[in-house]
Amino acid sequence: MQKLIWLVEVFYRPEVTDGAAEAIRKAVEELGISVVEKVWTSSLYRLEGMLERTSIVRIARELLTDPISQKYRLGFPQRPGAWSVQVWYKPGVTDTVAETTQKAILDLGINTPVTVATGRCYFFQGKLRENILVSIARALLANELIEIFQVYQPSRGKKNGDQQSGKRN
């Protein structure tokens, strides 16, 4: 079996308050940016290893997601009509949640070596431009000393992510 890279996105159910998103929305307002209408956040897990889809689903469902308040999705994170900013640690920076995730995967009984990286994704709805999101990312979302960020435009056509799109060789 080939080594595959999977991207798991974990996010709050719509009926649950996303406190982090609300804090970001307020902080954006404090920056003097008034064009953001809505913010969502999600946690990202990038898993690399010889993992079957069934194992990934099990990891996502049993380990990474709190089934009461959260849902997960495999693949590139996106929301219809929303810009997104992904933030990841730079290579070599200690990623403690990733370390714990790797250990917890072993505890699940999945003995394949898996390399994990964690990141965060922020979705923004509103009349936005890329340079506004770069300003927001620099001021609030990423510390470029240890993190990198990438701004993504709203997708056209794809809805709620393609579950297969996270699976790459």
């Binding site: 404090e30 070599g92 920076v93 200690t94």
Partner: protein, 790 residues
């Protein structure tokens, strides 16, 4: 195999002076020319160049962070007050206090990772406060979190290890509403630093299961470029575990987290100033879960006597930890055995890495198997990486190749002592005073001053209940909304004895008079202890100096003046220093070459005991009808006060503690609290008497009426009665049935019956019969609690 890319020889022998300076800069060694030349001479005598491992080890061991060069320097100090020049060594001045006071309850001072005092029934308590300023300025969450993790490890590594029972946190930030446009590139906004630092401290402490229950937060534009993050930990240990000694033949065991490239050059970096060109590698990220497992297994191993000595891996990583442990013996280290996070680390990186959550133990060979197996069972890695020898040499091996061999005597005693110049000139008194002051509006504005305002938004994020030992918590009163002066813990199930921890910090005084600042910080820490019922005659102190550019004689002169204040007032209060730490070079060099330094800052932390926690006292008003006394003398002392700050009045007379007046008062007050005659007690600090009384009203949700003509120290102007920050003052609530006994006990003391607690929901301030102003409790609470948002 060792390749040339893994071990480099540094061409030092023939380097010119300018090349030596360039070498120090290129390798981020933070060593000056004199120090580089001492190293050069040492290797010239050996007839060879140093390896990168060796040079880096020396730089770490000789860093300001590890060896406190400025505090040990001989300073030619010109005192503008005495108009004479004399030689001063700052560290000696601090240590002199402890030597002269000779308190038998001080069990271990200035020699280990933390100071230790006697507690009760064969138990001792240890206390250490560290700073993590530079890392927190760059990566607030990780920097503050690892600050907490680091000081916890200090406590794990004191003696044979203490169990952490309390974390403290004191921060200095730029104003939260600071204009973002004024920030240069690479400097994070104070609000972002504030949130990141608080979150970092919260997550590390909470996840470790240690209550964070005492602290302070200061806001001032002087901290925009360099925030200050003080993290403290108190631990408890059996008295028979307070000393350690390495024996030749003991195995060197590294336990806990794995080693990566993170945090390399932390010690030398923290000894330098900040600028925008900072490498990623200096940032450390902590993992409290790993440290929690390490803590738990260490306590078991300690009680099984499986190791003879222990220390933490802090700044400088293994190089500092093993270099220090092997100081009187020698050691051989097999670097290839150190467990790594990833494979491609060069030997010097393994040796220098400041990866978190690691401890180093000296384990007798016969205990190796038991220790390693115990750690394995608890899912903590413990690996033998070397052995202590009698060679007096630190020998570093990597796959059978020698990558470094250093003489320990040179490493620990070869550092040339610095000779520095300093002078101090007192500032001229201020000539501007506030005019046409509207008392009620001034009080309202003071309550919303972020320095004074409630820190509930921060405090509530910390778990201050975990371990179920916290008797007096950070917030007090019926609605848990008033401020506590100090924290009281009851760490032993079988004893009512308690540990009391308070702190004092006021950099605003230091800007004008660093000597008075030292006295005020020290007295405030002791006052806080007294307010909750702690023993004022059994207070141990910790000093944490954070200073700007000490290479400037004027800045260094203020430091000397502050140190002398610490010495004089600690002696006067009979309170020995048991531990301390300095963080110098807290300045930022801007692109245009100009320098922004922090205000001179001194944190004094106080550790005391209370014989019976059931007699502890809080600050919230308890019952209508009770008397309110203001103990202590009020003077017109406004220099550095929040009142003068509000009206933009620089200078002025900084409050000066008067130990001869305050010590007897503290003694009587301690007795009154022990006799349970005191219903509530709160000290007057920032904002003065009326702010302190407002806090008591908010906590108790009872009204109060006070008459300013009854304030001791007459004749006084109204603003002095309300807002002067004179030291040595306590507001005390006493039930009427205890009035006679209390007043009789206090006879001869400057104590004024200034008012009483009322059932109405008003704070009424009168001048004789005239009502100056009234505030509803709701108005007070709204102002005080609403000023700092998250």
């Amino acid at each position: 195999m060792v390749t040339s890319s893994q071990v480099k020889e540094i061409n030092l022998l023939k380097a010119s002076e300018s090349e030596l300076v360039a070498l120090s800069q290129k390798h981020l060694l933070s060593l000056d020319l004199k120090e580089m030349k001492a190293i050069q001479r040492h290797f010239q005598r050996l007839g060879r160049n140093p390896t990168d491992c060796e040079l880096e080890t020396i730089a770490q061991t000789w860093s300001e962070h590890c060896v406190h060069k400025t505090f040990k320097a001989v300073i030619n100090y010109h005192d503008g007050l005495e108009k004479r020049t004399r030689k001063v060594v700052c560290l000696n001045e601090i240590a002199r206090v402890t030597r002269r006071l000779r308190k038998r309850w001080c069990l271990s001072v200035f020699q280990d990772n933390a100071g230790i005092i006697e507690f009760t029934d064969g138990w001792a308590v240890a206390f250490k406060v560290e700073t993590h300023n530079h890392p927190s300025a760059l990566e607030p969450y990780g920097g503050a979190g690892t600050g907490v993790g680091g000081v916890i490890r200090d406590i794990l590594g004191v003696g044979l290890g203490a169990k952490p029972i309390l974390n403290t946190d004191v921060f200095c930030f730029g104003p939260l509403d600071f204009s973002a446009e004024e920030l240069p590139e690479g400097v994070l906004h104070p609000r972002r630093i504030f949130k990141g630092v608080v979150s970092g401290v919260r997550d590390y402490g909470n996840r470790m299961g240690i209550p964070t229950a005492n602290g302070a937060i200061i806001f001032d534009p002087g901290y925009v470029y360099n925030c200050l993050v003080f993290c403290g930990t108190v631990g408890i240990m059996p008295e028979n575990k307070i000393f350690k000694k390495v024996s030749v033949g003991d195995l060197i065991v590294v336990a806990g987290g794995r080693t990566g490239r993170d945090g390399i050059h932390g010690a030398t970096f923290s000894s330098a100033s900040l600028n925008k060109n900072i490498p990623t590698s200096v940032v450390q990220i902590g993992n409290p879960i790993v440290e929690k497992k390490l803590l738990d297994v260490l306590m078991v191993a300690r009680d099984l006597n499986l190791y003879r000595a222990i220390t933490d891996c802090g700044a400088g990583g293994l190089s500092s930890a093993i270099g220090e442990m092997a100081r009187d013996t020698g050691a051989v280290v097999w670097l290839e055995r150190v467990p790594l996070k990833y494979a491609d680390l060069a030997p010097w990186e393994i040796w220098l890495s400041e990866s978190q959550e690691r401890m180093v133990l000296a384990v007798p060979p016969e205990n190796e198997e038991r220790l390693v197996s115990l750690f394995q069972n608890e899912d903590v890695e413990a690996t033998v990486i070397g052995q202590f020898t009698d060679s007096g040499q630190l020998l570093l091996k990597y796959h059978d190749h020698t990558v470094g061999e250093l003489n320990l005597n040179f490493l620990h005693h070869g550092l040339p002592r610095r000779k520095l110049q300093a002078y101090f000139h007192p500032r001229p008194p201020a000539r501007i005073t506030p005019e046409n002051v509207e008392w009620k509006e001034t009080l309202r504005q003071l309550l919303t001053d972020p320095v004074i305002a409630s820190k509930e938004v921060v405090i509530r994020q910390y778990d201050h209940e975990v371990q179920a030992q916290t008797i007096i918590k950070p917030l007090t009163g019926v609605e848990q909304s008033g401020p506590s002066d100090a924290v009281v813990l009851k760490p032993l199930a079988e004893s009512w004895a308690g540990v009391v921890v308070g702190c004092g910090i006021n950099p605003f005084y230091g800007e004008i008079d660093p000597y008075a600042m030292a006295g005020c910080s020290l007295e405030e820490a002791i006052r806080n202890v007294v307010c909750v019922g702690g023993d004022p005659f059994r207070v141990a102190l910790l000093d944490n100096f954070c200073w700007g550019e000490t290479s400037q004689p004027e800045s260094l002169g203020r430091l000397v003046r502050c140190v002398e204040g610490c010495r004089d007032f600690a002696l006067a209060y009979g309170a020995p220093f048991i531990s301390g730490k300095d963080s110098l070079n807290n300045y930022f060099r801007k692109e245009d070459g100009s320098v922004s330094s922090i205000p001179p800052t001194l944190l004094i932390s106080a550790l005391s005991t209370i014989p019976d926690v059931r007699k502890a006292c809080t600050s919230d008003l308890k019952k209508p009808g009770n008397n309110i006394y203001l103990c202590g003398v009020t003077r017109e002392e406004f220099g550095g006060s929040r009142y003068y700050h509000l009206f933009h009045c620089p200078g002025g007379q900084v409050p000066l503690p008067r130990p001869a007046e305050t010590r007897p008062l503290m003694k009587k007050l301690y007795q009154a609290i022990r006799n349970r005659w005191v219903a509530a007690c709160h000290d007057c600090s920032e904002g003065g008497f009326i702010v302190a009384l407002s806090e008591m009203v908010i906590g108790g949700t009872w009204g109060a009426e006070v008459d300013l003509t009854k304030v001791n120290g007459q004749p006084l102007k109204i603003d002095a009665c309300l807002f002067s920050e004179s030291q040595g003052r306590f507001i005390v609530e006493v039930e009427q049935e205890h009035q006679e006994k209390f007043e009789s006990l206090m006879e001869g003391q400057p104590v004024g019956l200034v008012g009483r607690v009322l059932p109405e929901s008003f704070l009424t301030v009168k001048l004789g019969q005239e009502i100056l102003f009234q505030f509803t409790i709701q108005e007070l609470a709204r102002s005080w609690k609403g000023a700092i948002g998250w």
